[in-house]
């Protein structure tokens, strides 16, 4: 049986996955802090709708898993959906980094 090829990731998907990893380091990663990480670290505005849709899509692709916390009053009695990065997402991220690094290695400093 051959080794499974990690799924290809789009640029925004990579950024969202990395933001989930950053946000999930000290706390549960959920919509709000994933967006905050994304905006703070990339220093650019991200569309809230695009972030939620990407989280949903990544979950459907099996790159994220999610769980619900209990409803709290400050959330209007609604549960919080928290995300975790799956093993296959980690593999995809590593593969993507390897590809980018290899390409960067081939570029001379004076060219950019």
């Amino acid at each position: 049986m051959g080794r499974e090829t990690p799924p290809a990731l789009g640029e925004f998907e990579q950024m969202v996955l990395l933001a989930v990893l950053c946000a999930g380091r000290d706390d549960d990663a959920y919509g709000l802090n994933v967006l905050a990480e994304l905006e703070t670290r990339t220093n650019r505005r991200a569309s809230r709708g695009a972030v939620y849709m990407t989280l949903d899509r990544l979950e459907k692709k099996g790159l994220l898993s999610s769980y619900l916390t209990g409803p709290t009053p400050e959330r209007g009695g609604r549960a919080k959906r928290c995300y975790r990065v799956t093993k296959s997402a980690l593999a995809a991220l590593r593969a993507s980094r390897r590809a980018l690094t290899a390409l960067w290695d081939g570029v001379r400093g004076s060219e950019i």
Binding site: G31, S47, G49, L68, P71, R75, G76, G77, K80
Partner: protein, 886 residues
């Protein structure tokens, strides 16, 4: 907004996104509420747009790639081009499908919460509603006492029992003065039901002593509506009963979608079941049981009946016929879901059946229209076959064209459905139990998708067969159906449409006729410029059964003086009666000295007769001064005058007061007092517009008031709305001495009394009207097809000297027999089905000839219009052109 988000993303994701937004809004609100709110709406709208765009793009991409993969894209483009060349045909099909689908999805959105949605409790199949009874009586009472409940619990520890007082006429209603339905629950309630408050809850201490502050758990709806979803709601107060029991303090909030498991009351406020220990034998509890897993309801029933029998033998109590009916000896266990929906399930099943019939008619019609179109495309189909198109290719192209039309119609119907749903909710009676708020959600969308798919398949069978049949001679294949078989099929389709159309038209006419009859009734009051405000004057322990409550009349008189001083008020007065809420109270009655017959006494204050606009038949109204000081003068309604004295001459005669017991029997222990009749007034329909007036006697409120829930009638010509809000403000300012629980114009209240009837009339009237439109369109399509097939014959006939009238007659006559057969079948089926509507009719008999003539006439007129239009068009054919083409 949340609804739209749910529709786009699904419930779970939408809820978590909404929670995130809520959380951030709170954080931003710390810097200023206005800034937080503005941010919230701006962000929510931007995000919704982005989500909708992403979803739409993804959908289009998926659809396009799927289509192109199978070569369907080419067929789709071809179908769209071909439909552009036949705009009338496309519009007719889309219109028919849109009409039926809009009605069907609206009905589904409503019935989904009654017929299909499971009860919102874990392992709901284990929950049963208990109806205890007595062998010697036909029906039992659903209420049990705390003592009985304790005996059953002890004897059957494996069965979980919960008792709650949700009966509107007992404790809960007396404590609840907020205008919201309430129920008192025991501490085990949440364990048995399996649903817990989403915030807070009762503690064991809450079930202890009755205090000045009543702990309450509110529904999610009340939390959102009355407390604006405040996350700090716990500890906030709600006016429950300012004097008798103290203010309510919110100690919990139930989760969204929770439905109180009662047959009687759709409670929005839960209170701890207090004070029952002091009256352990009073039967006021409704019981729900959770059965042990794996044990049948019949087995549990047998065990319970054995326990009841043992208990009865031990107690040796005899029924006394009034307050206590002896120990129960029989038990009936109803599945909770069936029991909760029993009031509405029948109506909604009928509505759903009617909607399904409508979709069926629409499919038959569209199928006819599409088959007719196949004839128009005969040349094109033949050509395609000749150049090598296979059977599957021809079938697929017809299927795709039909799918485009049906999907467009269904889409249009779905767009119209939210509007129709709003209308339906406006006319829907409030007491119908729905397990979810009717919305166009994913379930409804799924139903629409399912109905569309089935419709596409249904409507495509006949046109595909026809298209293949047309192409067969060219390709040398066998003809799929003979002309005779096709003709029989077509006639059957027309007859079936007419029959179903007639059934729906008869049903609609009977129910709309009932509403019209109810509206024609004279209410007995003049509703123009009249409004009613229902007050609660908390008795504060002053209420002694059978005696006027001290101080209440004075408080009411002071309030009325303030109301009369509002500019624009011409008259104001109060009556102690349930005005127009389909019930009545019987605390005091009047009777003749030598007769046991009695009629309800209605205490009124000065100004009531003028404000309500009652008509005087004879004598005079009791004067305001007489009423306010408690003089022994009365007025009787016409019905009461006729009932007490056969000659109806009541003026100057005497009647005697009679205090009533709760079982509507006179209380012999109370003293009787003579009152003289000074006037006869016209009958008033105090119960509802469609309930006959009952005989009443009007006496002085100051002398007779036993209740503390007077209704103030206010007449303010041209200023009803403004005055009504000022009266409500006055009542609020007078709290806690009195509170207003209902304020409405008389016209609205009158309309509300026939709300269930109006809802049925609207629903089935719409079905009937839609059925007529569909039958008309269907017959039009079929005759158009028939005329198209007979163009050559018509041309030859006309060339041989036939007139245009002759041609029209020949074409229409060909269908007359079919329509006639459909009418006969429809009459037979409708006559059988109409019996089921009998209990919903008012002043209209099931077989009322006028209504049947109207319904049959409407179907005949529609069929005539549907056949004449294409027949006349066919008769305009130019014989020379036809013969040349030949």
């Amino acid at each position: 907004m949340l609804r739209l988000l749910r529709w786009l993303t699904g419930d779970d994701l939408a809820d978590s996104i909404a929670g995130d937004l809520h959380e951030e809004r709170l954080r931003r609100s710390a810097r200023g509420t206005a800034a937080g709110t503005a941010w919230y709406w701006r962000t929510a709208l931007t995000m919704l747009t982005a989500v909708a765009a992403a979803r739409a793009l993804a959908g289009i991409r998926r659809l396009a790639s799927a289509f192109n993969a199978g070569g369907h894209g080419r067929d789709l483009r071809h179908a769209l081009r071909s439909l552009r060349r036949a705009p009338w045909y496309a519009a007719a099909v889309i219109g028919v499908i849109a009409l039926s689908m809009a009605l069907a999805t609206t009905v589904f959105a409503v019935v989904d919460g009654v017929l299909f949605k499971p009860l919102p409790y874990p392992r709901a199949h284990e929950l049963y509603s208990l109806e205890p009874g007595f062998t010697e009586r036909i029906r039992g009472t659903p209420s049990v006492s705390l003592r009985e409940l304790d005996v059953w619990r002890t004897a059957m520890p494996d069965v979980e029992f919960t008792g709650f007082d949700g009966n509107r006429t007992s404790g809960a209603e007396a404590v609840n003065q907020t205008g919201l339905a309430a129920a008192m629950i025991g501490p085990e309630f949440f364990d048995v039901i399996g649903v817990r408050p989403m915030m807070g809850g009762f503690t064991p201490q809450h079930f202890g002593e009755v205090g000045r502050v009543i702990p309450i758990i509110v529904s999610h709806h009340v939390w959102q509506q009355r407390f604006a979803g405040d996350p700090q709601v716990l500890g906030r107060r709600l006016a429950v009963d300012p004097r008798a029991g103290g203010t309510g303090e919110v100690v919990g909030v139930m989760p969204e979608g929770f439905v109180f498991p009662s047959v009687e009351v759709h409670a929005e406020i839960l209170l701890p079941l207090l004070g029952m220990a002091a009256r352990p034998t009073q039967r006021s509890l409704e019981v729900v049981m959770r059965l042990p897993a794996g044990e049948s309801a019949l087995a549990v029933r047998d065990r319970l009946e054995a326990v009841m029998a043992a208990d009865a033998a031990g107690r040796n109590l005899r029924p006394d016929g009034r307050r206590y009916l002896g120990p129960f000896d029989r038990a009936t266990l109803h599945p909770l879901g069936e029991r909760m929906a029993e009031g509405s399930a029948r109506v909604f099943s009928g509505a759903f059946l009617a909607a399904a019939l409508l979709v069926l008619i629409a499919c038959l019609n569209v199928s006819g229209l599409m088959a007719a179109r196949s004839l128009d495309r005969a040349r094109e189909i033949g050509l395609r076959r000749a150049i090598g198109a296979g059977t599957w290719h021809i079938a697929r192209s017809v299927l795709i064209e039909n799918a485009v039309l049906v999907a467009s119609g269904a889409g249009l119907g779905l767009v119209a459905a939210p509007w129709l749903l709003r209308v339906a909710l406006d006319v829907m009676p409030g007491n119908l139990l729905l397990l979810k708020t009717p919305v166009i959600d994913w379930r409804v969308a799924a139903f629409a998708l399912f109905a569309t798919t089935v419709s596409v398949l249904l409507v495509s069978i006949w046109p595909i067969r026809r298209a293949l049949g047309l192409a067969a001679p060219v390709a040398g294949a066998a003809v799929t159906s003979t002309p005779r078989a096709a003709s029989v099929g077509r006639r059957l389709a027309v007859a079936a449409q007419v029959a179903v159309g007639l059934v729906l038209a008869v049903g609609g006419s009977l129910l709309v006729g009932s509403v019209a009859q109810a509206w024609r009734n004279e209410p007995g009051i003049d509703p123009e410029d009249l409004s009613f405000v229902e007050l609660r004057i908390p008795p504060d322990g002053r209420h002694v059964f059978g005696k006027p409550a001290p101080g209440v009349a004075e408080e009411l008189a002071a309030f009325l003086r303030r109301v009369r001083s509002i500019p624009g008020v011409r008259a104001a007065g109060a009556i102690d009666a349930h005005v127009l809420d389909r019930s009545h109270i019987e605390n005091v009655a009047f009777s003749l000295s030598d007769d046991t017959r009695h009629h309800i006494g209605l205490p009124v204050t000065g100004g009531f007769f003028e404000a309500a606009g009652l008509s005087l038949i004879a004598g005079r109204f009791p004067a305001d001064g007489e009423l306010d000081r408690g003089a022994p003068v009365i007025a009787v309604s016409q019905a009461a005058a006729r009932s007490f004295w056969h000659d109806g001459d009541a003026i100057g005669r005497d009647l005697y007061t009679q205090a009533m017991l709760p079982n509507a029997k006179p209380d012999p222990s109370q003293p009787r007092r003579a009152h003289t009749v000074v006037g006869i007034v016209a009958d008033v329909r105090y119960n509802a517009l469609d309930v006959d007036p009952y005989p009443v006697v009007y006496g002085s409120y100051a002398a007779l008031n036993f209740e503390t829930a007077p209704v103030v009638a206010i007449r303010a010509p041209g200023a009803t709305g403004r005055v009504l809000s000022e009266v409500v403000r006055l009542a609020e300012a007078s709290a806690p001495a009195l509170t207003a629980v209902r304020a409405q114009t008389a016209t609205d209240i009158l309309a509300d009394t026939i709300r269930p009837r109006r809802f049925l009339g609207w629903l089935f009237g719409a079905f009937g009207a839609a059925a007529l439109v569909l039958v008309g369109a269907g017959i039009l399509g079929v005759i158009a097809m028939s005329a198209a097939r007979r163009t050559r014959e018509v041309g030859i006939r006309m060339a041989l000297g036939s007139t245009r009238e002759g041609v029209v007659t020949a074409l229409v006559a060909g269908e007359a027999a079919t329509v006639g057969a459909g009418l006969v079948a429809g009459v037979v089926v409708a006559a059988w089905l109409a019996r089921f509507l009998e209990s919903h009719l008012y002043n209209v008999t099931v077989y009322q000839p006028t209504i049947w003539f109207l319904a049959v006439g409407a179907v005949v007129a529609t069929a005539a219009a549907g056949s004449l239009i294409p027949a006349v068009r066919a008769s305009r054919v130019d014989p020379a052109q036809v013969l040349r083409a030949d």
